[in-house]
Symmetry: C2
Subunit: 457 residues, 2 copies
Amino acid sequence: MTPQRLVVVGGDAAGMSAAATARRRRSADELEIVAFERGSYTSYSACGLPYFVADQVESVDQLIARTPAEHRERGIDMRTEHEVTSIDIEARVLTATDRKGNEHVVDFDELVIATGATPIRPDLPGVDATGVHGIQTVYDGIALREHIEAEHLTEGHRAVVVGGGYVGLEMAEAMKLRGLEVTIVDAAPQPMATLDPDMGELVASAVRGLGIELRSETKCEGFVVDDSGHVRGVVTPDGDIPADVVVLGIGVRPNSVLARNAGIVVGETGGIATDVHMATSEKGVWAAGDCVETRHRVSGARVAIALGTHANKQGRIVGINVTGGNATFPGVVGTAVTKVCAYEIGRTGLTEREAKEAGFDFVAGTIESTTRAGYYPGAQPITVKMVAERGSGRILGAQIIGREGAAKRIDVLAAAIWNEMTVDDFWLVDLGYAPPFSPVWDPTLVAAYALASKVRR
Amino acid sequence: MTPQRLVVVGGDAAGMSAAATARRRRSADELEIVAFERGSYTSYSACGLPYFVADQVESVDQLIARTPAEHRERGIDMRTEHEVTSIDIEARVLTATDRKGNEHVVDFDELVIATGATPIRPDLPGVDATGVHGIQTVYDGIALREHIEAEHLTEGHRAVVVGGGYVGLEMAEAMKLRGLEVTIVDAAPQPMATLDPDMGELVASAVRGLGIELRSETKCEGFVVDDSGHVRGVVTPDGDIPADVVVLGIGVRPNSVLARNAGIVVGETGGIATDVHMATSEKGVWAAGDCVETRHRVSGARVAIALGTHANKQGRIVGINVTGGNATFPGVVGTAVTKVCAYEIGRTGLTEREAKEAGFDFVAGTIESTTRAGYYPGAQPITVKMVAERGSGRILGAQIIGREGAAKRIDVLAAAIWNEMTVDDFWLVDLGYAPPFSPVWDPTLVAAYALASKVRR
């Protein structure tokens, strides 16, 4: 019997999780697995790039969970430097172009699309100048780090980061750790647009307190480029900001062009539409990772969230289902954490703005506490904001800002939201208490209790 | 109209939470509140005593959340140094003895019993020698610290801690931080009897790795006392262990004598029996804190767990209910965290032994991971054990041992158990991911996924 062939497009977290899971569940006699990757790296942590750029992580190899050779050893026909250019679903065949421009036509029985996300690169004058760097792929990370090291950028030099979201803040930290003077240019009124403005304002204060210049509500209109083609500044309505290096951290969008061209349904978010099994509109075609949209469990809306943890989970779900299993991806609650120098930020569920958009009648409250018992050495400030449905008291969302020990407290709130707990349920949950870890009332419980009376008014 | 009178017996977390909550909900015109405390301190953190003894917390005042004067300012008739010696429930009256031996008879409409727990002090030869210290009350902490400082106990001196539970380990850390050579004498085969033996063995290795001598399966049979009445060692079947100071950390039992003598029903655990409203068997008599027993949500069994966080919650529940509100204490899942030097330990739900006792058919699995992405600076080892019901996959319990960032991960597992999640539900929960906080698969998710295939066999 000829084995079935599974073809995976995209060699990063989602695609290779699908491939590896399928491989573990089916022998090569039953299932042939071919995976295409445009670049030469596989299964790497893009999330780790800011720390590589900062030289907190020495070698890019440390970010690679599994190399192409390791995938091949495990029985996956891993074809790097092959870009899939078209898919003919009816004919069950796709075309890939290798580095030399040769075309390869490969047929498949089952197909996994895991083409990831594409960084938003604004079409602005000077964006292609030397020293203007995106930060999405390993190549971007290597290029930026080589640039910094080749030009000996350190104290006395200036970096401008365009964008005040997760990547922007992480790259601001990286540049700061490199010794550069850092300016963030952000079109939004506050950094971290995934937080409510009041919490974003706390982030803004924290960032400024770190000695990072934050230019909010400031549009990047282009780049100052010298005669050698090197960036020398960022153009804004308030004047030019000098820069020896510029990092773009404006965000990403699902890379769903290949799928769309093949006739696969793409949602309004720009992400490939899938059902709970991660099956696309086309039979035997699956999708996972940053290229898909998924269901937000609280709002019910479709969302496209580029995050390695979702990509890994969805990839595994596909690997199970494509081999005859039955696993469902339950959606997300929008949990995210980030760190900028000594500050930690976490969020889950809906912000006030999102709750309003979703049509909830809600109340919100914010409390301040400490990460450990107040008297215990190293107790750090933590601010917890919670949003709950009026009447029912169901927790809709939470946001955290604090120092060491703050951000991962979002997990227990994510679990509470996941399980549709109310503030009245939650303030009595049996969380771990000892002075080195928490005040006797964990800050998350304090936030819930503070809201409990408000939801009933 | 004469106001009702609420009398509280016990001036620590549970009693004063009840009093403070009732005070916030009722004015003095409606409700008079009288609180009796045997000692002269109120609302203090007994959990903080090891850190006070270690001199990580400078002053005992830092452990006091609210002084007697502060309670009085808030309209509570706080009577310290008054020991309640008997209660006549039928007559609605109790008798208290002050420091001078004078008796005071006080009547009440509603009564809250919050008499805490009593340390187990073994009736062994020499237990009353100078230098043998319990560590339950502020007085114990002050006495031990004064002893250490008066005798200049530091490097070159020896401490023996009797008991290898939370308090024993925390006190071992405190003595270590003081520079003493520390031996733990523990009757059990492994420290932390609230963990399974395999996890306890990891704790044993960790403790030994810290340079603490651990004598497991070693009974303390008495104390070597010199002519001046000062302890000089601990007697064991394997010979005497020299000691300049001895700390007893053997455990506590609910202090329910007063209640029992008054005819209030006490459970088999020795804790006062209450319903979900924290009402005792007698109308208008409530109980909260270390003196009560409560329901374990997983086993369904009654348990007596002395922990400040339960005491605070139960006290607040009483304060709400005694003033006409309706709040219920939902029970516990046995969550606990502790730290011994660089090691963190957490547990929640049932251990294998407890699951067996409760009659569950279960499987267990243990995984190793890191607290942050493996490549991120400061990533620390973490071991997670999980116990789940065979068939259903319901998570029954979890245990964690690791270094910085390990223990509080127990919270999300406590929330999972609280909500009766299965391993299949849990490995897909949307937890916070970023390299400084977690590998792309949080260790708790890895533990659940590892068990997912096992539960079905």
